[in-house]
């Protein structure tokens, strides 16, 4: 029983990270219809920037995360301006290839700047606590609390503020949004900013329990794609729910099926889903 609770908690933790990454991906997809393969690189850079500001300047963990969010968010904006904006009229295959190009570049860059070594990130929250017989680390609790608060804030931002509602409007109808006077360029930049920021938060929160290395974004981004297809590409609640579904199925699968193959679960799930529903689980017909 203890194992089950422990694994459920682990699933929640992994799910929180996945959800945050998938949220950024789904926002960009919803607005620009770009499957941003470079999103995994933003995630990786988020962890490195946090790590570096902590080590180099001795900044506090939270301050380092804030800086990371800012830098990675701006990088996202830069990507939009330099690459995706010029490609907005190109055939869809071009966006994907361009995104892959960015991914390769950022990874090579990280390798030059930080080396290929695996690094660990120490935070002030290494304590272990015991709740009802279950051993938890502070950091893991932090990941869950942090991720959920970010999601709530994002929700409030999108639903309650004017700027947020323009994002929703554009996701629903790009041309319509343009017609009612929404500056679609600005909204696109803002979306990339948020998307990058979310990736940085996810990476910075999860890095202390994982490791930091140039290829750390690969699996996460692949799974994030699985998640947004699961939850409907462009759907915000879908990304959150999908993230937790994958998180739980992985942690439970690792315990009860096979630890070796736990990474494969998400992909098999996706292959099965797309085999039956070629447009994803919650495709909106007619769009």
């Amino acid at each position: 029983m203890d194992i089950l609770i422990q694994q459920l908690f682990n699933g929640l933790t992994i799910g929180s990270v996945y959800s945050l990454v998938a949220l950024g991906l789904t926002l960009v997809y919803g607005i620009l219809h770009i499957p941003n393969f470079a999103h995994g690189a933003l995630y990786m850079l988020g962890a490195y920037v946090t790590l570096t500001t902590m080590l180099l300047w001795g900044f506090h963990y939270w301050l380092a995360i804030a800086i990371s969010v800012l830098i990675v968010g701006l990088l996202g904006v830069l990507m939009d301006r330099l690459v995706f904006h010029p490609l907005r009229n190109a055939p869809p295959i071009h966006d994907k290839i361009a995104a892959i190009g960015i991914l390769l570049f950022l990874e090579a860059l990280a390798q030059i700047v930080w080396g290929a070594d695996y690094r660990s990130m120490d935070t002030p929250y290494g304590q272990v606590i015991n709740v009802f017989g279950v051993t938890l680390t502070m950091q893991r609790i932090l990941i869950n609390v942090g991720a959920i608060s970010v999601m709530i804030l994002l929700y409030l931002f999108l639903k309650k503020t004017f700027i947020g509602s323009t994002i929703i409007a554009m996701a629903q109808n790009r041309e319509g949004a343009h017609l009612v006077g929404i500056n679609t360029n600005k909204v696109a930049m803002l979306t990339f900013m948020i998307s990058g920021g979310l990736a940085a938060i996810a990476a910075s929160l999860s890095a202390p329990i994982n490791l930091v290395f140039p290829g750390m974004g690969h699996l996460v981004i692949l799974k994030a794609f699985v998640i947004i297809i699961l939850g409907g590409m462009g759907s915000i609640p879908g990304a959150i729910i999908g993230g937790y579904i994958i998180g739980f199925s992985e942690s439970l699968g690792a315990t009860y099926i096979s630890g070796e193959y736990s990474d494969i679960i998400a992909f098999v799930l996706l292959v099965v889903i797309l085999s039956f529903k070629p447009k994803g689980l919650f495709s909106r017909e007619g769009f």
Partner: protein, 345 residues
């Protein structure tokens, strides 16, 4: 007609150059690199047929390459089959798996197809990596034999392997040329332009796409089988995502959707990265932005840019008939915006 003759001379010249190359250089390393480049070219041709001519970007190509390679390796090393039987089976197995994957994958479109195939590629990688008992996992598969003799011809030394692989490359190009310049090729291109339109002019798009997909996996398998018996060692990383990125780079630099693209791109990128050996790990620092810049400014790569340039020259010579052609350029711009509509729709 002169341009056709010129083309023929270029092609014959290139083939002759490839044939005499080993006699010009005694550098075995160069020979090795070139042979390897030939192997990649075959895989890139497969990718080109699907992504370039049919418009479906498959990110599972490295996975199918690995299936071909491991099939040959396992059939010779573990099952003890004769080399050429294993060789043929490797291509058949890869195409058969390609057929099954294609049957499902091709129900999806555009982004979904790219992501689906990316996941399929990743599953292939993970299976090779984790299935120790069969594939040797991370330790790899060793002891793969070189191609067996055909009659009196032996393929034990690098020179004869060079020619063997060159032969398969030329065969690949020949087959590609004939496919592209046939009704089947036109069918693929029609699907790339607009699947909806292709269907309304009576093309069974699913059948045609499946054909293109299976062909592309067949060439991936062929390339993988050649790779296995050339390098004679296999590790799971040949199925890793970086390999598909390499293949894509070759294709993009050379020119996606052009017949010469795979040769031009692979040759250039492989030789350039060889001379930038010190950059080996960081070569993506150059190729990453290159890929992105190319797709923005020269979406059809070097071969495509050359083609457009030649077309421009020849159309200037011909001069357009005076009949009220307001603005040829304007029409082109218009058609590009109409592509955008499809994308958003």
């Amino acid at each position: 007609m002169t341009s056709l003759l010129g083309k023929r001379i270029t092609v014959v010249g290139l083939i002759v150059a490839a044939c005499v190359f080993p006699f010009i250089t005694s550098n075995l390393y160069m020979l090795h690199i070139l042979t390897l480049a030939f192997i990649w070219m075959i895989a890139v041709y497969g990718l080109n047929l699907l992504a370039g001519y049919t418009g479906y970007l498959s990110l599972a190509q490295a996975g199918f390459f690995a299936i071909g390679a491991y099939s040959l390796g396992l059939l010779t090393v573990k099952a003890g089959l004769s080399y050429w039987l294993a060789f043929v089976l490797a291509c058949v197995i890869t195409s058969a798996i390609g057929f099954l994957v294609g049957l499902v994958a091709l129900r999806t479109r555009e982004h979904f197809f790219a992501i689906y195939t990316l996941c399929v590629g990743y599953i292939i990688y993970l299976v090779i990596d984790k299935w120790d008992g069969l594939t040797g996992g991370v330790r790899g598969l060793i002891g793969i034999p070189a191609p067996a003799n055909i009659g009196p011809i032996s393929f034990q030394n690098p020179l004869s392997q060079y020619y063997l692989i060159l032969f398969f490359l030329l065969l690949t190009i020949f087959v590609m040329y004939r496919i592209i310049h046939s009704l089947s090729g036109r069918t693929f291109i029609a699907i790339r332009n607009s699947e909806e339109l292709a269907q309304t002019i009576g093309i069974s798009t699913m059948k045609a796409k499946l054909l293109a997909f299976v062909l592309s996996t067949f060439f991936a398998g062929l390339s993988g089988a050649l790779y296995a018996s050339f390098i004679r060692f296999l590790g799971p990383d040949i199925a890793y995502i970086t390999v598909i990125f390499d293949l894509l780079t070759y294709l993009l630099v050379g020119g996606i959707g052009t017949l010469a693209g795979p040769i031009v791109g692979t040759f250039l990128v492989v030789t350039v990265s060889q001379s930038l050996q010190f950059l080996q790990d960081y070569r993506m620092l150059i190729f990453g932005p290159l890929l992105t810049l190319l797709i923005i400014f020269y979406p059809r790569g070097i071969a495509g840019a050359l083609q457009d340039w030649i077309a421009k020259l020849s159309s200037k010579k011909k001069q357009t008939p005076p009949k009220q052609r307001k603005n040829g350029k304007g029409a082109y711009v218009h058609s590009q915006t109409s592509e955008k509509k499809v994308k958003e729709g």
